[in-house]
């Protein structure tokens, strides 16, 4: 390790740079030791495969960007793989199972909502999600993670800073048995 140039520094500066150098050495040796153990015990991740996936993704994005630049439109298809073509709004007609009227498929959902009663709302349900465990003890988490009312967006979403962990959650919904 190359020592700092002692001549130009005050004794204090020299001392602190020596301390720093020692600490740095120690940290480097620690990391090397950890990596060595991981490699010897076969615990290291398969970096070749990971890099291959990354490479394929990068390639894919480049190609897709190229083709969109060159004007190929891949969004509109003339036929699907079975040789069929479909209208913008699904035209199949069937009977509504609630009121019995004949409805066109593409308009079924809006019809169903009116048909089943206006403004039907989601019932508040107890939720259990992958984030229940994360919620526990996290910054700004509600005391109970098991009810909708506590888990409002205001409490549970991140403050928008990237890299902040553990704070924003979609709900899962499973009833507590």
């Amino acid at each position: 390790m190359s020592l700092p140039n002692d001549d130009n520094m005050s004794p204090h500066a020299q001392l602190s740079s020596h301390f720093f150098a020692d600490l740095l050495d120690s940290v480097i040796a620690d990391v090397a030791s950890e990596c060595h153990r991981i490699a010897r015990l076969g615990l290291d991740r398969n970096l070749d495969e990971e890099e291959e996936e990354l490479r394929l993704s990068a390639q894919a994005r480049a190609r897709v960007a190229d083709s969109s630049n060159s004007g190929e439109t891949n969004s509109k298809y003339v036929v699907d793989i079975f040789g069929q073509t479909h209208p913008a709004v699904a035209s199949e007609i069937f009977d509504c199972m609630n009121c019995g009227r004949s409805i066109m498929a593409g308009r079924f959902a809006p019809h169903l909502e009116k048909c089943m009663g206006k403004g039907r709302k989601a019932r508040l349900k107890v939720t259990r999600s992958s984030t229940a465990a994360q919620n526990r003890h996290s910054r700004g988490s509600p005391s109970s993670t098991y009810s909708y009312s506590n888990s409002t967006s205001m409490n549970r979403l991140s403050n928008g800073a990237p890299g902040v962990t553990g704070e924003e959650y979609s709900n899962g919904s499973f009833e507590d048995l």
Partner: protein, 581 residues
């Protein structure tokens, strides 16, 4: 392909270590044990004297890395260890004071020994505050922990299902021989902004164990009707969808009956003016006070609701009295995993461990260029130069130890006061089908606005989940010692293959979902009624929202089942398939 053992490859010890052990057995290790100093964060060092700084016997130096001879306990710095072994015959093995690692002076290399590691780990165990639910609860066979035998049962249950469905596949194969397209591939009509539903249904239709269950008629309409007088049954309608998808009819199917049932069962509003990507809860909460509602439907919300609906029906039909994690309903059998959360007191090391079942994992996007916490696990990654977010990066973030802020000190039972704590998540048990949900929304409480994060996320087609298992994470916390942690599970593979990608394009509250399916190594784009072949590049470059992975063993089995005979050159005049092969 790597066949890495999730445990360890038995490290080859050098001749000198072997000789040492022959002569001295475990004496050196045992007498060293009392001098091992452990920290609450899992590190261990050797501390012989509380009062004196260790110094090299030759040069009196104390700043370099120091090694303690296992035989005579003399200390040498790295420059002089060789001198010591030359002057004293056979004194070849030393221990690094800083890290409690064995070092062979003659080989000039760190060496590893299971007995030594065991000694170190036993010291950790005795030093940690006693705790039933703590880190080593599994070792003690502690209470709340799932036993691997139960999970083995679940796995074999699924395999049995697929055997049954194999027979079904064979008998149907004759009819399908005309079509060279994968079985079960069929478009779904959009019933009015229902692409959120169609996209998830496509993934479910092609999730191997889930598919096998329904195709092998394990949810039987007749039995179901007899058992429950009410006609509401979500699984029955899902069964109908499966029958329709695998019927051989390639015209788009309208899942109207299912939508109706879903709206009834899951009590959600059906009016959808857009395909929303919100935190669905946010919109529901917002709109519940507002009667003139329109709601953004989120595919992930739908996914959770559907599985919940199945669980409600099936969970009741099957035996009661089982805790959630062991539920035998098909939704849980296929998708349910177990998450482990460890909260460690930073001053005494007392760890409180809890387990929660989950049916998916929601991941925050990692930041490109953020430095990995554990550098030991990575070499220089290309991402650090190119700056993209990766799925592995998100998983690393998920399992990264998180220091809870000083405003969030938790009460430590051992210290009997509030202390700063460290929290770490890991996966105790992986499901057969792993659904990973990418949280692509940010909410600003100040601006009261949500926005979508469009940033590209790289994801692999083959995913190794080993580094995120509780066994790996806990082992890493204690220095990756050779020790039987966590009842390491050998019989379940943690390797997965992707089979479905749900993507979202557009804005936060309006946009479009579609699903890419991988069947027999060909990718298909399922855009409501439209099914088209796409190159895998398109999929890799897409903006993923939900990723569906299946255990590798199940994936390869599926691909065998679905292989069909190639179509003959003479087309059958009665079968109107155009553009086939």
């Amino acid at each position: 392909m790597s066949t890495r053992n999730p445990l360890y490859t038995n490290p080859k010890s050098c001749k000198h270590l072997e000789d040492y052990k022959l002569s001295h057995g475990l004496n050196g290790f045992n007498s060293l044990q009392k001098h091992i100093k452990t920290t609450p964060s899992g590190k261990s060092s050797v501390d012989q004297s509380q009062t004196k700084i260790p110094r090299c016997g030759f040069c009196d130096g104390h700043r370099e890395r120091l090694y303690l001879c296992l035989i005579c306990s003399s200390i040498s710095c790295s420059s002089h260890t060789l001198l010591h072994s030359q002057s004293e015959n056979g004194h070849d093995i030393a221990v690094d004071l800083e890290r409690s690692e064995l070092y062979c002076v003659v080989c000039c290399d760190q060496v590893y020994d299971p007995d030594f590691d065991r000694t170190v780990m036993l010291k950790h165990i005795t030093d940690l505050p006693p705790n039933k639910s703590g880190v080593f609860a599994d070792e003690e066979g502690g209470g709340a922990v799932r036993r691997s035998s139960k999970r083995r049962r679940l796995v074999s249950g699924l395999e049995f299902d697929s055997k049954k469905s194999k027979q079904l596949v064979v008998s149907m194969r004759d009819l399908r021989a005309k079509s060279c397209y994968p079985w079960g591939l069929r478009g779904l009509n959009n019933l009015g902004s229902t692409c959120f539903m169609n996209s998830v249904l496509q993934a479910l239709i092609h999730a191997p164990p889930f598919r096998n269950y329904f195709l092998s008629d394990q949810h039987n309409h007749e039995v179901c009707k007899k058992r429950s007088s009410d006609r509401l049954c979500l699984p029955c309608d899902i069964d109908v969808i499966f029958s329709a998808a695998y019927s051989g009819d390639r015209t788009p199917y309208s899942p109207a009956q299912f939508l109706h049932r879903f709206a009834l069962d899951c009590h959600v509003s059906v009016n959808l003016t857009g395909a929303g990507l919100l935190n669905g809860l946010y919109s529901w909460w917002q709109h519940s006070a507002n009667l003139a509602s329109y709601e953004q439907q989120d595919a992930h919300e739908f996914f959770i609701s559907v599985l919940d609906g199945i669980h409600e029906k099936e969970g009741k039909a099957r035996s009661l009295g089982i805790d959630n994690g062991d539920c035998r309903c098909i939704a849980h059998k296929v998708f349910s995993g177990l998450l482990r959360s460890d909260v460690t007191c930073m001053s005494c090391g007392f760890t409180s461990t809890t387990y929660d079942p989950c049916i998916d994992i929601s991941l925050n996007l990692d930041t490109p260029n953020c430095s990995p916490t554990n550098l030991a696990n990575k070499s220089v990654k290309p991402t650090e130069n190119t700056g993209i977010s990766t799925l592995l990066g998100c998983l690393d973030l998920f399992t990264k130890p998180e220091k809870l802020g000083s405003d969030q000190k938790l009460f430590c039972e051992n210290c009997q006061e509030r202390q700063e704590s460290l929290k770490q998540m890991s996966i105790k048990r992986l499901p057969s089908v792993l659904c990973l949900h990418v949280k692509r929304f940010e909410h600003s409480p100040i601006k009261k606005m949500s926005r979508k994060i469009d940033r590209y996320l790289q994801f692999p087609f083959s995913l190794d989940m080993n580094p995120y298992l509780s066994s790996s994470v806990v082992r890493n916390r204690f220095g990756n010692r050779i020790f039987g942690f966590e009842g390491d599970d050998l019989d379940t593979s943690a390797e997965y293959e992707i089979f479905a990608v749900v993507t979202h394009s557009g804005m936060l509250d309006s946009g479009h979902y579609l699903t890419y399916l991988r069947l027999r190594n060909q990718w298909y784009k399922c855009d409501d009624a439209w099914i088209n072949e796409v190159d895998e590049r398109v999929v890799r470059a897409s903006q993923c929202y939900m990723l569906f992975y299946v255990q590798k063993t199940l994936y390869y089995k599926v691909n065998e089942d679905l292989s069909c005979q190639p179509i003959s050159s003479r087309k059958d005049p009665f079968v109107p398939f155009a553009g086939c092969c």
